[in-house]
Amino acid sequence: MRTSSFGRFLSATAISALLLSACSGEAPSTSESPAATDASTVSVGILQSLSGTMAISEITVKNAEMLAIEEINAAGGVLGTQITAIVEDGASDPASFAQKASKLIENSNVVTVFGGWTSASRKAMLPVFERTNNLLWYPVQFEGNECSPNIMYSGAQPNQQILPAFEWAVEAGYQNYFLIGSDYVFPRTANLIVKKHIENKELSLAGEAYVPLGGTDFSGVIAKVQAAKPDIIFNTLNGDSNVAFFKQLKAAGISSAETPIMSFSIGEQEAQAMGPSLVEGSYATWNYFQSLETAENSSFVDAYKAKFGADAAITDPMVHGYLNVYAWKAAAEKAGSFEVDAVREAVVDLEAFSTPMGMVSFANNQSLVQKALIGKLDASGQFEIIADSGDVISPEPYDALTFPGKVCEL
């Protein structure tokens, strides 16, 4: 009789371990420099994860945002006032993001906030920004399907990253697509859109597979890939799962040469952390690559490396974070005020401005008009740019094919 109660005790333990592991890995939040709003300074918030699983990616975005603020302050500030940055830690936890956003706006009286990375963090902060009528500058590519007057979406909409990648693949003659992603909102929505377009072009879907965030067992997924023999794999896995996926793919004898992989979450930093030899030869689509050869880009890369170390990898979200600060400055100066509604109206009226990724501007739907670039990873973890969208692409938060009739009206 005792055996079974021990059994029950053990199963209960296993289940509580499962539940508790979901909330471990967080560190207490830290806040730097207290708020100080007097006549000569204006406070802005920077809200990224400085601890937890997303810290590795988000700290670099924080650095890029801080770099822009320092440069602006050194050049005389905005509207004659210096910027004070108040940094808060979102701790890789959506609830912390919401709480810290409300703290920045309501206690520190910041005029705007730069930050966020995961869609979950953005969705958690959205009600806070709408309630207080403040403005969030969001720097990361995402799944679209959202449109708020209180968020400036500078990261790519699906039609600026995933669809250009798809169009490139169609032009290159790939017919049979396999979609692999982590099991959360971005891959699910992105693949929904890709599937509609595959159907529309009368191409075929070899398969679709989702793995829990952080999952490392790809045996089943790879067996399905081997059975389906796709022409190309679209990979929306996030984080550590990518390492396991590429390793097990290699072990199964599937090489990038015969089955190319197009990734949407692997940038320069991730490639270097994973070991470039593992991902060499695979493709990625972003709006910016460190290897972009322009004068603006090389001066940005040099400035970042001078401050944060010569080994630093520069990624797409960092540049979006950096240009967000400059866009806010330009809009505030055009409006002649830091007031949120005035800045919002001014930013969409701005002329195209120069950034490390080229000339960009904000559309009326508060998303960035930008190019898409397709790169192939080389042995050093940098991308060779092999194709681009040609002209800049107007952002479409709602894909017309997938979400017919939905439009973003602000």
Partner: protein, 302 residues
């Protein structure tokens, strides 16, 4: 490749997943069988194994590195386990809930320590070149089945560990003593067996095997501070299903769960396969609460 080949492939993958489950669960099963102790820090022994493999491969790169890493990880994890047992668990062993909490604390400390030392993102262990490739069957009824060398290696490690354990338990004096303690702790102590020493040996052995699991995991995926967390839950399920402390039961349960999850993945996503796995274990326990093999031990009658 047709669906028959896909199923054959998944059966093979199921064996390799089962091997990892088994290596992760054996230590838990052994220490639970002997001491009724639930070690929540067991997953971190696995993580330590991965980091030991990483360090070894830094010093000895190339083909031999992995073969050296196995004993290094075994000894390193065993030593850590031994330290944990003597300093903490042996003092708390009579209070199961306190042991649970204390070892969970140790688990968090070890995770944070490795995060501080090695960084929050994973470190990379490169599989040696002799593990590249594998066996591709191109003819006959199993045409299209591929057996990657890394997965064959994992299965081989699990089989060797099982053989080693069986030899120790059946043919050595210390194995005899451990079996005696397992059957009746008080009577064994009364006959002069050093019960504490048997506890320590079993704990070291279990932790060492988890260390080996960490090495084989490192060739499949990244070594991260939280790698142990993702395997501790299936390990607990294996122990519960196996019958709490029996090696044969643990092995059968690991095979059942590994094959179940691999075959489920043919029809559903990995996330759904995990849900079905939990449902499977719950249903199984309803019909056979004592597990695959019921352990005959006085310890359970107390």
């Amino acid at each position: 490749m047709d669906s028959f080949a896909l199923i054959s492939n998944q059966i093979f993958n199921g064996f390799s997943v089962a091997s990892i489950f088994l290596l992760a669960a054996l230590g838990l099963a052994l220490s639970f069988g002997l001491m009724r102790v639930i070690n929540m820090a067991h997953g971190e022994m696995l993580m330590l194994g991965g980091y030991f493999a990483f360090l070894t491969m830094q010093i000895i790169p190339g083909g031999m590195g992995l073969l050296v890493a196995l004993p290094v990880a075994f000894i390193g994890a065993a030593a850590t386990g031994g330290l944990l047992q003597t300093t903490l668990i042996s003092r708390l062993a009579k209070r199961p809930l306190d042991t649970l909490l204390a070892t969970w604390g140790v688990s968090l400390i070890l995770q944070q320590a490795s995060r501080d030392i090695f960084g929050a993102i994973g470190v990379e262990v490169q599989a040696p070149t002799w593990l590249d490739g594998g066996i591709q069957i191109t003819e006959g009824m199993f045409a299209g089945v591929s057996l990657p060398a890394t997965r064959l290696f994992i299965i081989a490690v699990a089989i060797l560990v099982l053989i080693g354990l069986t030899l120790i338990f059946r043919h050595t004096r210390i194995g005899l003593l451990i079996r005696a303690v397992n059957q009746d702790r008080m009577m064994a102590a009364a006959t002069g067996i050093e019960v504490k020493r048997a506890d320590l040996i079993i704990f070291c052995l279990g932790s060492g095997i988890a260390g080996l699991a960490g090495v084989v995991l490192a060739i499949l995926g990244p070594v991260t501070p939280s790698v142990g967390q993702s395997y501790i839950v299936p390990a607990f399920l294996v122990v519960v299903m196996g019958g709490l402390g029996s090696i044969a039961g643990t092995t059968i349960a690991a095979l059942m769960l590994g094959l179940f999850s691999a075959l489920a993945q043919i029809y559903v996503d990995v996330s759904m396969a995990q849900v079905l796995l939990l449902v499977f274990v719950i249903v199984f326990i309803q019909f056979r609460p004592q597990g695959v093999i019921a352990q005959k031990s006085r310890a359970l009658d107390v």
